[in-house]
């Protein structure tokens, strides 16, 4: 294993690690209470007390960015889990049983794919209260087709393999094949896909919060911070920069991580790139 790690993987891992560390740190320590309002200190620039300034209500921006990382990670993790929990069994069923079941699940995922996550979230927010959960459910469900397709595609390939026939000769049921043989074989593809989905989820949550459909106040959310800063763009332009940069860097981090993992885990892709470069 003297193969060099892909540089995308290293940069991605550093950025993602930074987000995770910030979120963990904010659990135990932030420079100030991120929800504490200090009306006298509204829209301050960077000072020694407020390292990167305050927002329109005089709350410490750095503390809010830090605990916003928490929110971002929770949303990302939950969203990906929802998408995995629904998408993997659906794709697995399609690959194992083929026929009408496959057609039904794949057409269903086509419908979902055609439905924008934002629209789904508005629907959810209209039916229920706009909350973190409706945002997560909406984004998660919108991501289900991605996972269903990936599992089905890889699963169809696995089901063609000789060893699946062998498993059947010694009495393995479809469920056994799915859990013991199909899942481990698609896990690397799933990991890559989950990382990319994480980035999509962060971006979607920011968009939903921006529209007021995501995390309700006072919990700090990068998306909402960005939308609120708009009003004060003339007075405090930096206020828009911090959450914007945080979103951009974390999304970039997860995307790079996903790319890097794919290079690392997919031997076929490496072969191809070697052939291209030679």
């Amino acid at each position: 294993m003297s193969r060099r790690l892909p540089s995308t993987l290293v940069v991605g891992a550093v950025l993602v690690g930074l987000v995770i560390c910030t979120a963990l740190l904010s659990l135990v320590w932030t420079p100030a209470d991120p929800t504490h309002v200090e009306v006298g200190d509204r829209l301050k620039g960077p000072t020694t007390t407020y390292l990167i300034g305050t927002d329109q209500l005089g709350r410490d921006e750095l503390s809010r960015i830090m605990s916003g990382a928490q929110n971002t990670l929770v949303i990302g993790i939950m969203t990906v889990l929802i998408a995995l929990a629904l998408g993997v069994p659906l794709g697995g069923l399609a690959a194992l049983y083929r026929g009408n079941l496959e057609n039904a699940t794949m057409r269903l995922s086509d419908v979902l794919l055609a439905f924008p996550a934002i629209l789904l979230a508005i629907l959810f927010a209209a039916v229920f209260q706009p909350s973190r959960f409706t945002a997560m459910a909406a984004i998660g469900i919108a991501l289900v087709p991605v996972f269903a397709r990936v599992v089905r595609g890889a699963g169809l390939q696995v089901m063609q393999q000789d060893y699946v026939t062998i498993v059947r000769t010694y009495g393995g049921s479809q469920l056994w094949i799915f859990v013991r043989h199909l899942l481990p074989n698609v896990s690397s593809v799933l990991i890559v896909q989950a990382t990319v989905a994480f980035a999509v989820a962060i971006l979607a949550e920011a968009a939903l919060s921006y529209l007021g459909l995501g995390t309700p106040p006072p919990t700090p959310s990068w998306g909402r911070m960005l939308s609120e800063s708009q009003t004060f763009l003339n007075q405090a332009p930096l206020l828009a920069f911090w959450p914007g940069a945080s979103i951009a860097l974390s999304v970039l981090g997860f995307n790079l991580l996903g790319d890097g993992l794919r290079d690392l885990l997919d031997p076929k892709l490496v072969e191809r790139s070697v052939q291209l470069s030679s």
Binding site: D162, I166, T169, Y170, S173
Partner: protein, 359 residues
């Protein structure tokens, strides 16, 4: 198997493990295996021979209920009186691997590449013996030792690519025999292996089958292998059984021109090969649905005539000709038709499907 209190095996010799009645396999509407009828006795080793495309593997897959999509089987496959073709998938899952097992030709792709050998060998035990992961691990190690995998304890933690072809095939055999099945179907188990490894694997198969008291259905196109391993042989051509009988009988005194042609195609070792042309059967096996009506072999057969336009029935040798009981090398073989059927119910029968059998 039937273990009595003392732990020794009692194998009722008259028992047919598997009885196949009118087994027909179709691809769409084309029949590729036609009304096969044969039985496999307990503890008996039967060879199923024929060229590629004669329906050997399809017969085996039909018995296991594992025909690929688009193929269908009809007739009856009776395992101890229960029709496997009419069992539910759930019942089949219980029988497969436990009572019926199968070994395939290709050991390279037959194991899951991302799973350790030990975990895979343990699978049939977990499925059929209700073993937990730890108990199955111990039993899998024993199974690997039983098939003489060197350094079995180490190999338990190896991945399939780290094993040689012979070792992989041993692992496959360990999986297939882990539950001491009543019938082991081996589909060209040694075709992909070195000649030296072939003999070892065949010896191992015979050893395990005898130890378990299992029957063996050995599918191959290697006639000497059948002669060495099996007691009985079925010759398949174009999806028909064209000849059936004891190995001594069929190989020593073939009655069907196809069997004769197969035997002639084995290059002799004692002759100066370059000075002599190898014998081959003229023509090739026709494609699906392209067999001539009547006897499928008649367009390649030197003895064919107008009568062959009708498929000859599979009949006992004695019906056609009484004096066929001279064994190979002048050995005296008891007249097969004289054997009482209950003595050795399947081995006693010698049948051929030909209008003009060799005498």
């Amino acid at each position: 198997m039937w273990a009595d209190n003392t732990g020794s095996f009692v194998v009722p010799p008259q028992d047919d493990i598997l009885k196949i009645e009118d087994l027909t396999v179709r691809v769409g509407s084309i029949e590729v295996v036609h009304q096969l009828r044969f039985a496999l006795a307990a503890g008996e080793r039967t060879g199923l021979i024929g060229e590629s495309g004669s329906g050997k593997t399809l017969t085996a897959l039909a018995i296991m209920g594992l025909l690929p999509e688009g193929l269908s089987a009809s007739g009856r496959v009776l395992y101890r009186g229960r029709d496997l073709l009419r069992m539910s998938e759930r019942e089949l899952c219980k029988v497969r691997g436990d009572r019926l097992a199968m070994v395939f030709q290709e050991p390279m792709t037959a194991l899951n590449p991302v799973m350790k050998i030990g975990a895979q060998v343990a699978e049939p035990l977990q499925l059929h013996r209700n073993m937990g992961a730890r108990a199955a691990h111990v039993a899998a190690l024993q199974a690997l030792e039983r098939v003489h995998v060197p350094d079995a304890a180490e190999k338990m933690h190896a991945y399939p690519h780290q094993l040689s072809g012979g070792q992989r095939q041993r692992a496959m055999i360990a999986m297939a025999t882990a539950c001491s099945p009543d019938l082991l179907i081996a589909d060209e188990p040694t075709t992909a292996l070195d000649v030296t490894v072939q003999a070892q694997i065949l010896n191992l198969l015979v050893e395990l089958v005898e130890e378990n008291g299992s029957s063996l259905l050995l599918i191959t196109h290697d006639l000497p292998v059948v002669a060495n391993v099996c007691q009985r042989v079925l010759v398949l051509y174009g999806g028909y059984i064209v000849e059936e009988g004891s190995v001594d009988d069929v190989f020593g005194h073939p009655r069907h021109p196809y069997t004769q042609a197969l035997l002639d195609a084995i290059p002799p070792l004692d002759e100066d090969l370059p000075s002599r042309k190898l014998k081959a059967i003229p023509g090739s096996v026709p494609g699906l649905g392209e067999f001539p009506p009547g006897c499928p072999f008649r367009n390649r057969c030197p003895r064919a005539d107008a009568a062959c336009a009708v498929m000859p029935p599979l009949e006992r040798n004695g019906h056609h000709n009484g004096d066929t009981q001279r064994g190979p090398l002048g050995r005296n073989v008891p007249s097969l038709t004289e054997l009482a059927p209950e003595e050795t119910p399947t081995a006693g029968i010698s049948r051929v499907a030909c209008w003009h059998p060799l005498s």
